[in-house]
Symmetry: C2
Subunit: 187 residues, 2 copies
Amino acid sequence: MDRRQRKTKEAIFKAFIELLSEKNVSQITVGEIIKRADIGRATFYAHFETKDFLLKALCEELFCHIFDATGHVENNHRHIFNCNAPDSVFLHLFQHLANNDNQILELLACENNDLFLRYFKTELSKLLEAMPELFTHSKTSELPHSFWVNHLTSTFVETVRWWVGHKREQSPEEITKFFYAAIGIIQ
Amino acid sequence: MDRRQRKTKEAIFKAFIELLSEKNVSQITVGEIIKRADIGRATFYAHFETKDFLLKALCEELFCHIFDATGHVENNHRHIFNCNAPDSVFLHLFQHLANNDNQILELLACENNDLFLRYFKTELSKLLEAMPELFTHSKTSELPHSFWVNHLTSTFVETVRWWVGHKREQSPEEITKFFYAAIGIIQ
DNA sequence: GATAATAGTGAACAATGTGTACGGTAACGT
DNA sequence: ACGTTACCGTACACATTGTTCACTATTATC
């Protein structure tokens, strides 16, 4: 990809992330984004059809690489699926978040976190669906499969929300224990 | 209140609710609302400062009366706090929802349900905080109070989301059991 | 039923934001 | 050095917002 394209794309994302931590999505205008990114109006629209598409692209940028199932290693970072200990996916996720790749913590703590947490939940659901060891618990037989998946994912995402909302005072290990306690599985 | 005011307010709410079940909030314009409500532009702004204030008013209309703690009876409907069996608040809430007061089910099932479920969660939190019997479980001692409250409320709200997302095939009694199973309390 | 207060009408408006078009300029990969 | 590609900036048509105002209709109250 052309270096210029990369640069402007990064500038747009950077400006957008900054604005997202300052105000609500609906209050952010394209004019503000291009001013802060210091690019021309036409350039913005050459990259993103609308503001909504930019938001979608940002979400994909943030989550899809975290949950990328291809399994290849980049930047010394193993993808979730490639971890040696599949049982501690949740711990890995918390550690991953604590590293604050892609300034994701800022976004998860900001006013618009709903948006990102929803995206998070969707991606996480796909991941959990493929983990049979999560469905051996006694509860599982009493409850519909999709209910249990939804409960697991939303409990995890809500744990993340609580964690970042409380300044992440717990270590990834501690918060993982909280999560397991909440869903009633003793790790 | 003047009959005219009541009528236009109802017309605005009705039009807004209709539009909400058709498209996203951000895609709804004031022009559409007044066209469907068949009122003048100035009239709309005489009632609501902006579209966001209308949304807020709608949420309050929907939830505050459900969670109203004043305890008085209106329209043959007992408020949550006034129920004889405080242990089954959750069952009462599901029954309340199933009755579809204020067309709330349509809104909880629509594209914008995030919005209403968040509001729901906020109000429910306040209610649960005041119910000491929910904090006697063994889990509670292991976990921070606010974590447990957040877990309870979000599990309930997510159960509602799952329920309405699956066409409410379960009776209020059944779905209440699911909820208790999820949080690990045997009722 | 007459009256004053209140609410709604509809059109017009400035202000702001959106998305597109275009000729000119600068940076890119090869 | 070359053709290609991306960016610039200005301008534009268009939609939406929120306000104003003179006028009309409805209301509660006497």
